[in-house]
């Protein structure tokens, strides 16, 4: 039984157009890996029959909300879980329709890997470009391109190779690395969990095998140490009279007891006196663990500050250049003020200008105007009320990302990736 206790976790997201069969593929992964239980199976069989479908509709395993079932489409991000003896998986199943770009960005923000679906009959489309662009924008390190519905093109190797060739152009344009291709039929299960007898020309492995074996190298050992302070723990008790702990989650690199550190943005220097995890003391901790640290000096650090490794200084500025994806029906306006949440810091920012809007279907930059509409992506310049301590998003997904929050309704309006 102990083997189960130290599995590895992989978070992946799926992207595909409305009818590419994304939900069916996930349903197939769950079904063929025996992650579907008898009562779920019965419920889906009954629901399939009610909707007049002759075969079991695998997509019903993932569509949860009433309106999604009624319309047969996925509206919101749904999270699914399954495990094999090798790995535990968290899937962010995101909607393919253009109006839900924001949900795709949401699902991609925490993913280590993206599965992009292409309908073999249609080949690469504008949607494929869009999904690949979002994967590259959100810096998802690994991509698996699933060419689906192979059953509808007679399992043709030529069709598969042609699509692969076309996708190479997208890869070049987006500078995507670590891309794997696989021909599948989600509906019939070819190359999903079990190898396909219909495509003897395909020498590669199954989708499940790729998911189980893709090495997610986080380069923790060489990354700069980043520790955003979340909460200061100061118990008022005799036993812990002098305890002053900085609680937070390591967001880059490795931290060792005795390490020299700098508190940003103040620039005060100190040394790590102890790393605590509840009542245990650790010699070292690494990303993304939640810990509490004590410093040797009695210095002023609080929520919003970032403790960094000595000599691994991040940028500190009020003028910040970002790629933003807008989520709200009310457009972003130049000169508007927004609340900015960045790591554990909160401040206000004004939008200085919109430089370029990305045409996500052609990937060509177009000159920006004074507004940015829902689902649009642009490079913009903001000025914050207080300086932010940050890295580029490409370097660090935590210290390089931020969200826009409405000053009145407090809704989350957009996502920013620092350039």
């Amino acid at each position: 039984m102990n083997g189960y206790l130290d599995m590895d976790l992989l978070r992946f997201t799926t992207a595909g157009s409305v009818d590419d069969g994304k939900s069916t593929l996930i349903g197939r992964l769950l079904y063929d890996s025996k992650s579907i239980f008898e009562d779920q199976l019965k419920a889906v069989e009954a629901a399939s029959q009610r909707s007049g479908s002759e075969e079991m509709n695998l997509a019903l395993f993932t569509d949860g909300l009433r309106s999604e079932r009624e319309q047969g489409i996925t509206i919101d991000v749904a999270y699914r879980y399954f495990a094999t003896p090798k790995r535990k998986f968290i899937i962010a199943d995101t909607p393919g329709h253009i109006q839900y770009t924001r949900n795709m960005v949401t699902g991609a923000s925490t993913a280590d890997l993206a599965v992009i679906l292409i309908d073999a009959r249609n080949g690469t489309t504008e949607q494929t470009v869009r999904h690949s662009y979002i994967a590259s924008l959100l810096a998802i390190p690994y991509i698996i391109v699933c060419i689906n519905k192979m059953d509808l093109v007679n399992f043709s190797e030529k069709v598969f190779e042609n699509i692969k060739l076309k996708y190479n152009d997208i890869m070049d344009k987006l500078q995507l690395k670590n891309v794997q291709f696989i021909p599948v039929s989600a509906k019939f299960g070819d190359n999903v969990v079990d190898s396909s007898a219909n495509m003897p020309w395909y020498a590669g492995t199954t989708l499940m095998n790729m998911l189980e074996t893709t090495v997610t190298d986080h380069k923790t050992d060489i990354a700069d140490m980043r520790f955003p302070v979340q909460y200061v723990i100061r118990p008022v008790s005799d036993k812990f009279h002098d305890f002053r702990g900085y609680a937070g989650r390591l967001s880059g690199g490795v931290l060792k007891k005795g390490d020299a550190v700098t508190v940003m943005p103040s620039g005060q220097h100190s040394t790590v006196a102890a790393i605590n995890q509840c009542d245990k003391e650790l010699d070292e901790a690494f990303t993304p663990d939640s810990i509490t640290i004590q410093l040797t000096d009695d210095i002023d650090a609080s929520r919003g500050d970032i403790i960094v490794g000595e000599g691994e200084t991040p940028s500190v500025s009020q003028d910040i250049h970002i790629m933003v994806c807008w989520f709200n029906e009310n457009p972003l306006h130049v000169n508007n003020k927004y609340i900015i949440m960045h790591a554990t810091k909160e401040t206000v920012a004004i939008v200085k200008n919109i430089e370029n809007v990305v045409n996500i279907n052609t990937l060509e930059p177009e000159p920006g105007s004074t507004t940015l509409k829902m689902n649009e992506i642009a490079s913009i310049q903001i000025k914050t009320a207080q300086p932010l301590v940050f890295d580029s998003y490409k370097k660090n997904r935590t210290t390089g990302s931020l969200i826009f929050v409405d000053v009145n309704t407090f809704e989350t309006l957009g996502a920013g990736m620092i350039i």
């Binding site: 239980f37 999270y79 609680a247 989650r249 939640s290 990302s401």
Partner: protein, 301 residues
């Protein structure tokens, strides 16, 4: 395995502790919704670890249907005493007595749905701005769509079609007066993760999770406890069986599993082999295909 790679349980724990610390930082009056079930027990354990050596600063809120397993209440009271916590009880019986809700009648009568009113009334009374729950996305299809920080309007309602996008590890807990949040720190855990974690951390559990003899009866293929609040139909007979709870809810809607699992190892092996979901024994989910979605919109846990 990579030297600098957390195991799945460590990574889930780190994420949940991060979420709990965000609650402490962003809200003024958070509360832990405590049912006495394994998920709320794990959430309370995580809160203990998140703030140590500080005492957990959140009170526990138990919505009491009056139809509890006695073992749950014993466990609850012992835990509160051991950790030095404040316990608040919201009573469904009181909501019935004061006319806030009407008791269901018939054989399938349950106080499960009535809890929503008591819960929202209690949240309003104590001005709680964040109610931390142990709900998990893998439990049920409507819960699969939940955010970690889930906004509730001034009527306590959930709007599943217009949820705030939640990106990276940035949790937006900002709200207007009289709105509140539900926070689900163990959103990404599965039933198996929960039991493995309980095993790894040696968390003490209520005895009804382990096999015991109980007077039960069978209704529609489901074993239910033959307690005084349950009305038997003709033909239903009370028998004594070796059972355990897989989830703990109100007596009226908690299906019992025939089981000989005596230890945490036994439970983990049993779950690894089972072909029925954990909520497969919950009568409250079977009322319709979208029963959970409908209850959640109204403000249920």
């Amino acid at each position: 395995m990579d030297k600098y790679k957390l195991t799945h349980l460590k990574e889930l724990e780190a994420e949940s502790i991060y979420v709990l610390r965000e609650v402490a930082a962003q809200f003024e009056r958070p509360v832990i919704l405590f049912s006495g079930g394994k998920d709320s027990i794990v959430v309370t354990h995580l809160a203990y670890k998140a703030f140590y050596p500080l005492k957990i600063m959140f009170p526990l809120l138990h919505i009491d249907t009056g139809h509890n397993f006695a073992e749950t209440i014993e466990y609850r009271d012992a835990l509160v005493k051991r950790l030095g916590l404040t316990l608040i009880v919201g009573s469904v019986q009181e909501s019935i007595d004061t006319g806030r809700v009407k008791e269901e009648t018939g054989y399938h009568a349950s106080r499960n749905r009535l809890q929503t009113v008591t819960l929202l009334d209690t949240i309003e009374k104590y001005k709680f701005d964040a109610a931390i729950g142990g709900a998990r996305r893998d439990e049920e299809k409507a819960r699969a769509k939940e955010r970690f920080f889930s906004h509730r309007d001034e009527f306590g309602q959930w709007n599943p079609k217009n949820q705030r996008p939640e990106l990276w590890n940035i949790f937006n807990g900002k709200k207007n007066m009289s709105e509140h949040f539900r926070v689900f720190p163990i959103s990404n855990w599965t039933e198996m993760d929960v039991w493995q974690y309980i095993y790894k951390e040696s968390i003490e559990m209520p005895s009804i999770y382990f096999t015991h003899e109980r007077k039960v009866f069978n209704r529609d293929g489901q074993w239910l406890a033959a307690e005084s609040c349950m009305k038997l139909k003709s033909g239903e007979i009370v028998e004594t069986k070796q059972v355990r709870c897989r989830t703990i809810g109100d007596i009226s809607c908690t299906g019992l599993t025939l089981s000989k699992a005596e230890s945490l190892e036994d439970i983990i092996n049993e779950i690894a082999a089972t072909r029925i979901t954990e909520r497969g024994g919950r009568a409250d989910d079977k009322r319709s295909d979208t029963a959970m979605e409908d209850r959640k919109i109204a403000g249920y846990f």
